[in-house]
């Protein structure tokens, strides 16, 4: 099942990945703060919609997303 993983400690909460995902699976929820002081985004995919298209990872400036297929 394709999926992604957000490396919370690398994410700076820039939110570029949010609109990049065609299925809206990356959300800026502002639920936790990482050690750098940023709110990392969260991957929310209860319906396994992720296609592993990597668009979110490609736009991420901080290599904070891993994609699995």
């Amino acid at each position: 099942m394709p999926r992604i993983e957000v490396i919370k400690e690398s994410c700076k909460g820039c939110q570029l990945c949010v609109p990049a995902c065609p299925h809206g699976l990356v959300l800026f929820t502002k639920t936790e703060i990482n050690q750098m002081g940023y709110y990392p985004v969260e991957y929310v995919d209860p319906e396994d919609k992720c296609t592993g298209c990597m668009l979110c990872a490609i736009i991420c400036p901080d290599v904070a997303i891993r994609v699995y297929k």
Partner: protein, 263 residues
Amino acid sequence: MSDVKTIAEPVQEKLVFDRPKSLTKRGFTYCPGCGHGVIHRLVAELIDEFGVQDRAIGMASVGCSVFSYWFFDCDFISCAHGRAPATATGVKRAHPDAFVFSYQGDGDLASIGMAEIMHAANRGEQITVIFVNNAIYGMTGGQMAPTTLENMVTTTSPLGRDPILAGGPIRMVEILANLDGVAFAARGSSSSPRNILKAKAYMKKAFRSQIEKKGFGIVEILSNCNTNWRKTPQEANKFIDEEMVKAFPLGVYKDVFADKSKK
């Protein structure tokens, strides 16, 4: 250590996108959303893909990317402002089999470093130049660059860049493409996944130019400096797509591989 396996072993999951090997573990120190990070990753991916990590030597320029040697896992020199192409020349002539690249901002390359980039290109130095054009001096706090758009407000063009007094944005790859020593010159953008992939394809050719000893290769990449543009990262990337590309059209300006009529 092999453990007892569950009977229904899941299909092996494959990691299809991860941090390239040629990046160190250190997190980028750029502002959130800054284009430098994307461009770093692309360079590192290509170093991996071409298998040149053990002979890659990078030239850091002076600008926000001055510490790029913190992030690239290969030999590096932090050069004087604008002079990376000259330093790269010294390195490449010493090690013709090394993969030598410079990573330069628009202030560095197009302003103070104009003579060095022009002449390295004209000599056809076998180096690869990654040119990050964010239309501004990022590191020093948002002053006008030679690439700043007309009427754009910066800290040294407080009323907007006046083309009558300060000239207009300078298009480096178009200029460099005129020089015989240049094998590949193109302009990409880091503003969207689609553009990023295209930019990577350009960079790949600039890598090949060097590795196949065809000559000097340069890729200019439009990149956001959301901090000094005073925009969100998303707005900033949109600005690239809607405004910046008007002054800086994307595309290939010289391609030794495509142009079969050339010797």
